[in-house]
Protein backbone atom coordinates (compact mmCIF):
# COMPACT_ATOMS: atom_id res chain seq x y z
CA UNK A 1 0.00 0.00 0.00
CA UNK A 2 1.41 3.41 -0.94
CA UNK A 3 1.76 6.33 1.46
CA UNK A 4 -1.58 8.16 1.62
CA UNK A 5 -1.52 11.63 0.14
CA UNK A 6 -3.82 12.84 2.89
CA UNK A 7 -4.46 11.14 6.17
CA UNK A 8 -6.39 12.28 9.23
CA UNK A 9 -5.98 10.39 12.46
CA UNK A 10 -8.49 11.10 15.20
CA UNK A 11 -8.68 14.79 14.21
CA UNK A 12 -10.52 17.07 16.59
CA UNK A 13 -11.25 20.65 15.68
CA UNK A 14 -13.84 23.38 15.97
CA UNK A 15 -14.54 27.07 16.18
CA UNK A 16 -13.61 28.68 19.50
CA UNK A 17 -15.17 26.65 22.27
CA UNK A 18 -17.46 24.73 19.92
CA UNK A 19 -16.06 21.37 18.82
CA UNK A 20 -17.21 20.24 15.40
CA UNK A 21 -14.93 17.32 14.61
CA UNK A 22 -14.84 14.65 17.30
CA UNK A 23 -12.14 12.33 16.00
CA UNK A 24 -12.12 12.16 12.21
CA UNK A 25 -10.22 9.35 10.51
CA UNK A 26 -9.81 9.67 6.76
CA UNK A 27 -7.40 8.36 4.12
CA UNK A 28 -6.93 9.59 0.55
CA UNK A 29 -4.58 7.52 -1.59
CA UNK A 30 -2.47 9.20 -4.31
CA UNK A 31 -4.30 9.51 -7.61
CA UNK A 32 -7.67 8.57 -6.19
CA UNK A 33 -10.95 10.37 -5.66
CA UNK A 34 -12.58 10.29 -2.25
CA UNK A 35 -16.14 11.53 -1.79
CA UNK A 36 -16.97 12.70 1.70
CA UNK A 37 -20.73 12.73 2.11
CA UNK A 38 -22.99 13.78 4.88
CA UNK A 39 -25.91 15.98 5.85
CA UNK A 40 -25.70 19.66 6.60
CA UNK A 41 -23.72 20.33 9.80
CA UNK A 42 -21.88 17.00 9.81
CA UNK A 43 -18.47 18.71 9.76
CA UNK A 44 -17.52 18.14 6.12
CA UNK A 45 -16.43 21.70 5.38
CA UNK A 46 -14.57 21.89 8.69
CA UNK A 47 -12.71 18.74 7.67
CA UNK A 48 -11.58 20.51 4.49
CA UNK A 49 -10.65 23.61 6.48
CA UNK A 50 -8.41 21.46 8.68
CA UNK A 51 -6.90 19.65 5.69
CA UNK A 52 -6.06 22.97 4.02
CA UNK A 53 -4.55 24.45 7.19
CA UNK A 54 -7.24 27.09 7.72
CA UNK A 55 -8.23 25.62 11.06
CA UNK A 56 -5.64 24.09 13.35
CA UNK A 57 -6.75 20.82 14.90
CA UNK A 58 -7.00 20.75 18.67
CA UNK A 59 -6.12 17.05 18.66
CA UNK A 60 -5.09 14.21 16.40
CA UNK A 61 -2.71 14.08 13.48
CA UNK A 62 -2.95 15.59 10.01
CA UNK A 63 -0.57 13.89 7.61
CA UNK A 64 0.11 15.00 4.06
CA UNK A 65 2.31 12.81 1.89
CA UNK A 66 3.22 10.91 5.04
CA UNK A 67 4.41 13.92 7.01
CA UNK A 68 2.57 15.30 10.02
CA UNK A 69 1.70 18.88 9.14
CA UNK A 70 -0.29 20.03 12.19
CA UNK A 71 0.44 23.75 12.44
CA UNK A 72 1.36 24.29 8.79
CA UNK A 73 0.14 27.64 7.49
CA UNK A 74 -2.57 27.51 4.81
CA UNK A 75 -0.49 29.59 2.37
CA UNK A 76 2.46 27.22 2.77
CA UNK A 77 0.22 24.22 2.09
CA UNK A 78 -1.29 26.02 -0.90
CA UNK A 79 2.18 26.72 -2.33
CA UNK A 80 3.11 23.07 -1.85
CA UNK A 81 0.08 22.00 -3.90
CA UNK A 82 -2.86 21.61 -1.52
CA UNK A 83 -5.72 23.45 -3.16
CA UNK A 84 -9.21 24.08 -1.80
CA UNK A 85 -12.15 25.24 -3.89
CA UNK A 86 -14.41 26.55 -1.14
CA UNK A 87 -18.14 26.20 -0.79
CA UNK A 88 -20.13 28.76 -2.78
CA UNK A 89 -18.34 31.01 -5.17
CA UNK A 90 -14.79 31.36 -3.96
CA UNK A 91 -14.16 33.95 -6.65
CA UNK A 92 -13.59 37.70 -6.40
CA UNK A 93 -16.95 38.99 -7.69
CA UNK A 94 -15.77 42.51 -8.41
CA UNK A 95 -12.76 41.39 -10.50
CA UNK A 96 -12.97 40.20 -14.09
CA UNK A 97 -12.44 36.57 -15.05
CA UNK A 98 -8.94 37.41 -16.29
CA UNK A 99 -8.11 39.27 -13.08
CA UNK A 100 -9.38 36.36 -11.01
CA UNK A 101 -7.08 34.06 -12.92
CA UNK A 102 -4.20 36.51 -12.54
CA UNK A 103 -4.58 36.11 -8.76
CA UNK A 104 -3.26 32.59 -9.17
CA UNK A 105 0.18 33.71 -10.30
CA UNK A 106 1.25 33.86 -6.64
CA UNK A 107 3.17 30.61 -7.03
CA UNK A 108 5.52 32.23 -9.54
CA UNK A 109 3.90 31.00 -12.76
CA UNK A 110 3.45 33.56 -15.52
CA UNK A 111 -0.01 34.93 -16.27
CA UNK A 112 -0.08 33.50 -19.80
CA UNK A 113 0.82 30.06 -18.49
CA UNK A 114 -1.90 30.17 -15.83
CA UNK A 115 -4.50 31.65 -18.19
CA UNK A 116 -3.78 29.10 -20.94
CA UNK A 117 -4.38 26.24 -18.51
CA UNK A 118 -7.60 27.79 -17.21
CA UNK A 119 -9.08 28.53 -20.65
CA UNK A 120 -8.08 25.12 -21.97
CA UNK A 121 -9.97 23.47 -19.13
CA UNK A 122 -13.04 25.70 -19.48
CA UNK A 123 -13.12 27.41 -22.92
CA UNK A 124 -16.29 29.27 -21.91
CA UNK A 125 -14.22 31.31 -19.46
CA UNK A 126 -11.97 32.45 -22.30
CA UNK A 127 -14.99 33.94 -24.05
CA UNK A 128 -15.87 35.85 -20.88
CA UNK A 129 -12.43 36.90 -19.74
CA UNK A 130 -13.38 40.59 -19.53
CA UNK A 131 -16.62 39.99 -17.66
CA UNK A 132 -16.95 40.64 -13.91
CA UNK A 133 -16.88 37.32 -12.09
CA UNK A 134 -19.90 38.33 -10.01
CA UNK A 135 -22.00 38.62 -13.18
CA UNK A 136 -21.24 35.06 -14.32
CA UNK A 137 -23.81 32.32 -13.78
CA UNK A 138 -23.37 30.05 -10.76
CA UNK A 139 -21.98 27.27 -12.93
CA UNK A 140 -19.51 29.59 -14.64
CA UNK A 141 -18.37 30.88 -11.27
CA UNK A 142 -17.70 27.30 -10.18
CA UNK A 143 -15.81 26.74 -13.44
CA UNK A 144 -13.74 29.81 -12.69
CA UNK A 145 -13.05 28.59 -9.16
CA UNK A 146 -11.97 25.19 -10.49
CA UNK A 147 -9.93 26.72 -13.29
CA UNK A 148 -8.11 28.93 -10.79
CA UNK A 149 -7.41 25.89 -8.64
CA UNK A 150 -6.09 23.85 -11.55
CA UNK A 151 -3.95 26.72 -12.80
CA UNK A 152 -1.71 26.24 -9.75
CA UNK A 153 -0.97 22.63 -10.71
CA UNK A 154 -2.17 21.17 -7.41
CA UNK A 155 -1.21 17.75 -6.13
CA UNK A 156 -4.26 17.56 -3.89
CA UNK A 157 -7.52 19.20 -4.93
CA UNK A 158 -10.35 19.61 -2.46
CA UNK A 159 -13.78 20.58 -3.69
CA UNK A 160 -16.43 21.76 -1.26
CA UNK A 161 -20.06 21.39 -2.36
CA UNK A 162 -19.34 21.73 -6.07
CA UNK A 163 -22.99 21.17 -6.96
CA UNK A 164 -24.49 23.68 -4.53
CA UNK A 165 -27.19 25.79 -6.16
CA UNK A 166 -26.44 24.57 -9.69
CA UNK A 167 -28.67 23.01 -12.33
CA UNK A 168 -28.19 19.24 -12.76
CA UNK A 169 -26.85 19.69 -16.31
CA UNK A 170 -24.15 22.09 -15.07
CA UNK A 171 -23.29 19.73 -12.21
CA UNK A 172 -22.82 16.92 -14.71
CA UNK A 173 -20.56 19.12 -16.83
CA UNK A 174 -18.45 20.05 -13.81
CA UNK A 175 -18.16 16.46 -12.66
CA UNK A 176 -17.20 15.51 -16.19
CA UNK A 177 -14.19 17.78 -15.77
CA UNK A 178 -13.51 16.31 -12.33
CA UNK A 179 -13.51 12.83 -13.87
CA UNK A 180 -11.01 13.99 -16.53
CA UNK A 181 -8.75 15.45 -13.83
CA UNK A 182 -8.97 12.22 -11.88
CA UNK A 183 -8.03 10.23 -14.98
CA UNK A 184 -4.96 12.46 -15.22
CA UNK A 185 -3.86 11.21 -11.79
CA UNK A 186 -4.83 14.11 -9.57
CA UNK A 187 -5.80 13.23 -5.98
CA UNK A 188 -9.20 14.71 -5.23
CA UNK A 189 -11.25 15.00 -2.07
CA UNK A 190 -14.83 16.01 -2.76
CA UNK A 191 -17.30 17.06 -0.12
CA UNK A 192 -20.94 16.83 -1.12
CA UNK A 193 -24.31 16.83 0.53
CA UNK A 194 -26.06 15.30 -2.49
CA UNK A 195 -24.35 12.14 -3.57
CA UNK A 196 -25.65 10.84 -6.87
CA UNK A 197 -23.24 12.49 -9.28
CA UNK A 198 -20.15 12.43 -7.10
CA UNK A 199 -20.39 8.69 -6.46
CA UNK A 200 -20.01 8.20 -10.21
CA UNK A 201 -16.49 9.65 -10.20
CA UNK A 202 -15.26 8.55 -6.74
CA UNK A 203 -12.98 5.57 -6.06
CA UNK A 204 -13.92 5.58 -2.39
CA UNK A 205 -16.69 7.21 -0.44
CA UNK A 206 -17.14 8.05 3.22
CA UNK A 207 -20.16 9.05 5.26
CA UNK A 208 -19.74 11.73 7.89
CA UNK A 209 -22.22 12.26 10.70
CA UNK A 210 -21.96 14.44 13.80
CA UNK A 211 -18.25 15.21 13.36
CA UNK A 212 -17.12 11.64 12.74
CA UNK A 213 -16.57 9.46 9.69
CA UNK A 214 -18.99 6.63 10.35
CA UNK A 215 -18.46 4.53 7.23
CA UNK A 216 -15.90 4.25 4.43
CA UNK A 217 -16.13 1.96 1.44
CA UNK A 218 -16.69 1.56 -2.30
CA UNK A 219 -19.21 4.05 -3.74
CA UNK A 220 -21.68 1.29 -4.62
CA UNK A 221 -21.89 0.13 -0.99
CA UNK A 222 -22.01 3.66 0.40
CA UNK A 223 -24.82 4.60 -1.99
CA UNK A 224 -26.98 1.86 -0.51
CA UNK A 225 -26.35 3.00 3.06
CA UNK A 226 -26.55 6.71 2.46
CA UNK A 227 -30.28 7.22 2.88
CA UNK A 228 -30.32 5.25 6.11
CA UNK A 229 -27.35 7.23 7.38
CA UNK A 230 -28.97 10.57 6.56
CA UNK A 231 -32.18 9.53 8.27
CA UNK A 232 -30.29 8.40 11.36
CA UNK A 233 -31.11 4.70 10.95
CA UNK A 234 -28.35 2.40 12.19
CA UNK A 235 -26.97 0.72 9.08
CA UNK A 236 -24.23 -1.20 10.79
CA UNK A 237 -21.32 1.04 9.90
CA UNK A 238 -17.92 0.39 11.44
Amino acid sequence: MSTPLLEMRNIRAGYGIIDVLHGVDLVLQPGSVLALLGPNGAGKSTTLAVASGQIQPSGGQLLIAGREVNGAKPDALARAGVCLVPEGRGVFPNLTVAENIRMMTFSGASYSEVADKAYELFPRLGERRKQLAGTLSGGEQQMLAMARAMATDPALLMLDELSMGLAPIIVEELYGQVAKLAEGGLSILIVEQFAQTVLGVADTAAIMLHGRVTRTGPPSEIAEELTAAYLGINSGGH
Binding site: I55, G71, A72, G81, L156
Partner: protein, 119 residues
Protein backbone atom coordinates in the same frame (compact mmCIF):
# COMPACT_ATOMS: atom_id res chain seq x y z
CA UNK B 1 -4.54 5.28 -8.95
CA UNK B 2 -1.36 6.83 -10.24
CA UNK B 3 2.23 5.84 -9.92
CA UNK B 4 3.52 7.22 -6.63
CA UNK B 5 6.84 8.08 -8.29
CA UNK B 6 5.27 10.59 -10.69
CA UNK B 7 7.34 13.79 -10.87
CA UNK B 8 4.51 15.95 -9.51
CA UNK B 9 4.04 13.69 -6.50
CA UNK B 10 7.77 13.62 -5.84
CA UNK B 11 7.88 17.41 -6.04
CA UNK B 12 4.86 17.63 -3.72
CA UNK B 13 6.52 15.26 -1.26
CA UNK B 14 9.66 17.42 -1.27
CA UNK B 15 7.65 20.62 -0.73
CA UNK B 16 5.70 19.09 2.14
CA UNK B 17 8.96 17.87 3.70
CA UNK B 18 10.29 21.44 3.52
CA UNK B 19 7.27 22.96 5.27
CA UNK B 20 8.01 24.86 8.43
CA UNK B 21 5.58 23.97 11.15
CA UNK B 22 4.52 26.16 14.05
CA UNK B 23 3.70 23.26 16.33
CA UNK B 24 0.02 22.90 15.52
CA UNK B 25 -1.45 24.99 18.31
CA UNK B 26 -5.16 25.60 17.92
CA UNK B 27 -6.32 29.17 18.49
CA UNK B 28 -2.99 30.84 19.40
CA UNK B 29 -4.66 34.15 20.33
CA UNK B 30 -6.78 32.53 23.00
CA UNK B 31 -3.67 30.91 24.45
CA UNK B 32 -1.85 34.26 24.33
CA UNK B 33 -4.72 35.98 26.18
CA UNK B 34 -4.67 33.30 28.86
CA UNK B 35 -0.88 33.56 29.09
CA UNK B 36 -1.09 37.33 29.44
CA UNK B 37 -3.63 37.05 32.28
CA UNK B 38 -1.45 34.48 34.06
CA UNK B 39 1.62 36.69 33.62
CA UNK B 40 -0.23 39.68 35.04
CA UNK B 41 -1.27 37.70 38.13
CA UNK B 42 2.34 36.59 38.62
CA UNK B 43 3.55 40.20 38.24
CA UNK B 44 1.07 41.53 40.82
CA UNK B 45 1.96 38.72 43.25
CA UNK B 46 5.65 39.46 42.76
CA UNK B 47 5.14 43.19 43.37
CA UNK B 48 3.09 42.58 46.52
CA UNK B 49 5.63 40.06 47.79
CA UNK B 50 8.42 42.58 47.22
CA UNK B 51 6.47 45.28 49.04
CA UNK B 52 5.55 43.23 52.09
CA UNK B 53 9.04 41.76 52.28
CA UNK B 54 10.67 45.18 52.13
CA UNK B 55 8.74 46.47 55.17
CA UNK B 56 10.51 43.99 57.41
CA UNK B 57 13.99 44.84 56.12
CA UNK B 58 16.29 47.33 57.89
CA UNK B 59 19.26 47.28 55.55
CA UNK B 60 18.97 49.72 52.63
CA UNK B 61 20.81 47.25 50.33
CA UNK B 62 18.19 44.58 51.03
CA UNK B 63 15.46 47.13 50.40
CA UNK B 64 17.14 48.04 47.08
CA UNK B 65 16.90 44.40 46.05
CA UNK B 66 13.16 44.49 46.77
CA UNK B 67 12.87 47.68 44.70
CA UNK B 68 14.58 45.91 41.80
CA UNK B 69 12.22 42.95 42.24
CA UNK B 70 9.24 45.34 42.24
CA UNK B 71 10.54 46.95 39.03
CA UNK B 72 10.78 43.51 37.43
CA UNK B 73 7.14 42.98 38.48
CA UNK B 74 6.16 46.28 36.84
CA UNK B 75 7.95 45.30 33.61
CA UNK B 76 6.20 41.89 33.64
CA UNK B 77 2.83 43.56 34.22
CA UNK B 78 3.40 46.00 31.34
CA UNK B 79 4.52 43.13 29.11
CA UNK B 80 1.42 41.11 29.99
CA UNK B 81 -0.83 44.08 29.20
CA UNK B 82 0.92 44.47 25.82
CA UNK B 83 0.47 40.77 25.06
CA UNK B 84 -3.20 40.91 26.09
CA UNK B 85 -3.91 43.94 23.89
CA UNK B 86 -2.05 42.44 20.92
CA UNK B 87 -3.86 39.07 21.10
CA UNK B 88 -7.26 40.69 21.68
CA UNK B 89 -6.79 43.09 18.77
CA UNK B 90 -5.64 40.28 16.48
CA UNK B 91 -8.84 38.37 17.19
CA UNK B 92 -10.96 41.48 16.79
CA UNK B 93 -9.37 42.53 13.51
CA UNK B 94 -9.67 39.00 12.12
CA UNK B 95 -13.42 39.04 12.70
CA UNK B 96 -13.55 42.60 11.38
CA UNK B 97 -11.80 41.53 8.17
CA UNK B 98 -14.20 38.61 7.71
CA UNK B 99 -17.11 41.00 8.22
CA UNK B 100 -15.69 43.43 5.65
CA UNK B 101 -15.24 40.65 3.10
CA UNK B 102 -18.81 39.46 3.77
CA UNK B 103 -20.27 42.97 3.45
CA UNK B 104 -18.26 43.63 0.29
CA UNK B 105 -19.63 40.43 -1.21
CA UNK B 106 -23.19 41.31 -0.19
CA UNK B 107 -22.81 44.80 -1.68
CA UNK B 108 -21.53 43.37 -4.95
CA UNK B 109 -24.52 41.00 -5.02
CA UNK B 110 -26.87 43.96 -4.55
CA UNK B 111 -25.16 45.91 -7.35
CA UNK B 112 -25.30 42.96 -9.72
CA UNK B 113 -28.95 42.41 -8.86
CA UNK B 114 -29.69 46.09 -9.55
CA UNK B 115 -27.83 45.99 -12.88
CA UNK B 116 -29.76 42.87 -13.92
CA UNK B 117 -33.07 44.47 -12.98
CA UNK B 118 -32.18 47.52 -15.11
CA UNK B 119 -31.42 45.24 -18.08
Amino acid sequence: MTDETSPRLQEFQAQVDDLRLSGGKANPERMAVRGAIALFVVAVALGLAAYFNSTSLDDARDQNEMIILALVAVVLALGSVGLFVRASMTRYFRYWLVRLVYEDRANTDRLIEAIREDD
